[in-house]
Amino acid sequence: MNPTDHENDNRLVMELQQTWEKLEGTYTVSPATLDVWESLVQEQRRHLKRRLWREVILFWVVAVPLIVGFILLASGLSTWFWILQGLFVIAGIPLLIVELRGYPDKGETQYD
């Protein structure tokens, strides 16, 4: 790169910086009051806690039938195993549907 190119690039970068500064100045920001931010943080933390508990419960809802099933199979109680598996499927499908419906759709519309 010859010195003229370098100088031109530096000039352009300086012009760009000024342009961005002007753009910032044009769109000044006045954030909401601290109370609003505090309630946002509170609400998000509450939401996060709820989601965590839901995930823990879901984990056990899946894990318990598996553990009980293995215990029953190991004890040779295959009839009870199948009855319990059937019950868990009947209870599990509506739960799965509810869970899938409740899952937030983070599609592009959120950014549009």
Binding site: D9, T19, W20, E24, T26, L34, E38, V41, Q110, Y111
Partner: protein
């Protein structure tokens, strides 16, 4: 930055501390996203999304970087995800074109002249504009930008180089037109 030290020293922040920290950085994140997206309403949405993500992930912030850099990284990744998703769904449309000119309209309505440079910046793709802003406005290194954008530093360097080239070509054309 004293706030960064506070976070690393005290670990989990109280509700009021976090709220005040986010409020303090709201403008910085918004202005960064405005320069990158060249779309005011999208920048506002992405800023809010960034703040929500920051609240969710605050426990993972270890104070090894500035809080502002951490927020900028979240905003960068959120925006890149949105861009990739839109690309996948092939929906870069008239709506997007209209948005671009809406910034010009709004900027002029606010009394600021829409320069040739803003026009050139607008013509760059998001992936080109982002490293340019991070490098030449915020002063991050190529390595830091690479980490933010999940790209090798060499790729970042060439994107910045070619963006400058592109703008310079248009800029010199405009200058020669004027003279």
């Amino acid at each position: 930055m004293s706030n960064d030290n506070e976070i690393s020293r005290f670990g989990r922040l109280s509700q009021a501390e976090l709220a005040s920290l986010l409020r303090e950085h709201y403008g910085l994140v918004f202005h960064y996203l405005l320069k990158v997206t060249m779309d005011r309403s999208l920048a506002e949405d992405m800023t809010q999304e960034t703040m929500i993500r920051a609240i969710e992930k605050i426990d993972r912030y270890d104070g090894s970087s500035k809080f502002s850099s951490w927020l900028i990284t979240i905003g960068t990744r959120l925006f890149l995800d949105a861009v990739r998703k839109r690309k996948r769904e092939q929906k870069r449309t008239l709506q997007e074109e209209a948005r671009l000119s809406s910034l010009q309209w709004e900027t002029e309505a606010r009394g600021t002249r829409w320069t040739e440079l803003l026009d050139s910046l607008e013509k760059l793709s998001n992936e080109e504009r982002m490293p340019l802003v991070l490098k030449h406005y915020y002063g991050y290194t190529y390595e830091e930008i690479g980490e933010m954008m999940s790209l090798p530093p060499g790729t970042v360097k060439s994107r910045v180089y070619y963006s400058i080239r592109k703008i310079r070509e248009e800029w010199s054309e405009d200058e020669s037109d004027r003279s």
